[in-house]
């Protein structure tokens, strides 16, 4: 059965107050067309889990500018001044997480792990309120898993069974987020028949993907 749906069918899948993981690094590998649909549809009070908040007009940026997000969990917000403004004004809650820790927390959430132990953030504000464990004489922070209601991802190409291929540096958080959400929706530039992507070429297995939306190349 094909997982491909139209852009019109997609809008009905979103509700207010859901948590959303979004792929992308500085907007590259981010689902720009899905963001546009979310902005048009107007869902609000979202919790957003993403590497960074890109710029006001790229990646997840427009969702933040349009004030649809109530909480952001990200590693970097500095390139989108609107995120910083909303954070300082107390309008949007921002939790800053080291980028590698963010990746591991999402992976833990998707891989059935109860958390991860990392040296990252020891002796910094990141360790505040967290349990520390000693393993073989070395100290680690316990970081807890992250999951979301919906993952909005971007791949270069999908087959109709949802098997995904990414290009260049546009892979980033997309493959791990495909593991860690109840509903996984992927924006792609091209959809091909099942079998056209060889099993050895698949970067994210289609069993993780619920819906595929073909949006072409967004520049």
């Amino acid at each position: 059965m094909s997982k491909v749906i139209s852009q019109e069918e997609l809008a009905a899948l979103f509700e207010d107050k859901v948590s959303v993981m979004m792929g992308g690094f500085m907007g590259v590998g981010a689902p720009a067309a899905l963001v546009r649909i979310l902005v048009e549809q107007g869902v609000k009070d979202l919790t957003l889990i993403t590497s960074d908040t890109a710029t006001p007009d790229t990646g997840v940026g427009p969702l933040i500018v349009n004030r649809q997000v109530k909480k952001i969990i990200a590693s970097h917000i500095g390139t989108n001044p609107e995120t910083g403004r909303q954070m300082i004004a107390g309008e949007t809650e921002v939790e800053l997480v080291p980028q590698g820790t963010l990746a591991e927390r999402i992976r833990a959430g998707g891989a059935g792990l109860g958390g991860i132990l990392t040296p990252t953030g020891l002796g910094t504000v990141v360790e505040e309120g967290k349990e520390k464990l000693l393993v073989n004489g070395k100290e680690y922070l316990l970081e807890l898993p992250l999951r979301a209601d919906i993952a909005l991802l971007k791949a270069y190409k999908a087959d109709k069974a949802g098997n995904l291929v990414y290009r260049q540096s546009a892979r980033n958080f997309n493959p791990i987020m495909a593991l860690a959400a109840d509903l996984v929706i992927v924006e792609v530039e091209e959809v091909v028949e099942v079998g056209e992507i060889k099993p050895d070429e698949v970067m994210t297995p289609g069993i993780l993907v619920d819906k595929v939306v073909c949006c072409g190349r967004i520049s």
């Binding site: 917000i77 800053l96 980028q99 590698g100 990746a103 990392t118 290009r167 540096s169 980033n172 791990i176």
Partner: protein, 224 residues
């Protein structure tokens, strides 16, 4: 004697720390200049934390799917490899990156680094910096010796929120090369344009000064 900018001196001296075959992550800004000054016969592989090794200058055609860790268009050398953020940070945290070069707001005599926020002024987020300093085998801080207002940046104790505790291996400024040791900060080299007295005066931290402080090495690369 010809003079050079602080950035040129710092980047050139840091390049001299690279060993042939090193996997290196260069932070945004000044550290990216390091690859311009690599000595002959030293080939390094650059890691970009957004998900690849083999970072190269951008070619004649810009590929919108290929950017560096600053989000700027980039290239990738033949033999490079792309991957996801999990693999990228496993490389960083797992000790598979030999050297990371980062800028600094403050460094102190315990090897603590502060470079990610100024409370009340600038809270951009730490990005991958905390993972890099926790996991790279060698952490080089490449920064100007003092702040724009002349305030010392090499301190007894950092006052800004830390990026990492006890993580710095080497500090390279336009004035000096300072090694972080278990006994404290060891002044190893000074630039040909300064004196030990000037370095001490511009450093708040206590410096261990050996009897034979050297002249900054490898600056002949500046002429090339």
């Amino acid at each position: 004697m010809k003079t050079y900018s602080a950035k040129e001196l710092i980047a050139c001296r840091v390049a001299g720390e690279m060993r042939d075959g090193d996997v290196v992550n260069l932070g945004i800004g000044l550290p990216t200049l390091v690859s311009n000054y690599l000595p002959e016969g030293i080939n390094i592989t650059l890691q970009s934390e957004n998900g690849f090794v083999g970072l190269a200058p951008v070619g004649s055609e810009v590929d919108p799917d290929l950017v560096n860790a600053g989000g700027k268009p980039s290239g990738i050398f033949p033999g490079g490899a792309t991957f996801d953020s999990f693999m990228s940070f496993a490389l960083i945290r797992g000790g598979h990156v030999d050297v990371t070069v980062l800028g600094g707001l403050q460094v102190d005599q315990d090897g603590n680094l502060a470079n990610w926020m100024i409370p009340g002024k600038m809270v951009p987020g730490m990005g991958g910096a905390m993972d890099l300093v926790a996991g790279a085998k060698k952490v080089i801080v490449a920064m100007e010796h003092t702040a724009k207002d002349g305030a010392a940046k090499i301190l007894k104790t950092c006052s800004l929120p830390l990026t990492g505790k006890g993580v710095v291996s080497l500090i390279v400024t336009e004035l000096a090369v300072i090694k972080v040791t278990s006994d404290g900060l060891l002044l190893e080299e000074i630039s040909p344009f300064t004196t030990v007295e000037e370095v001490v005066a511009k450093t708040e931290a206590k410096l261990i000064i050996s009897d034979h402080v050297g002249v900054m090495k490898g600056l002949e690369q500046l002429e090339k």
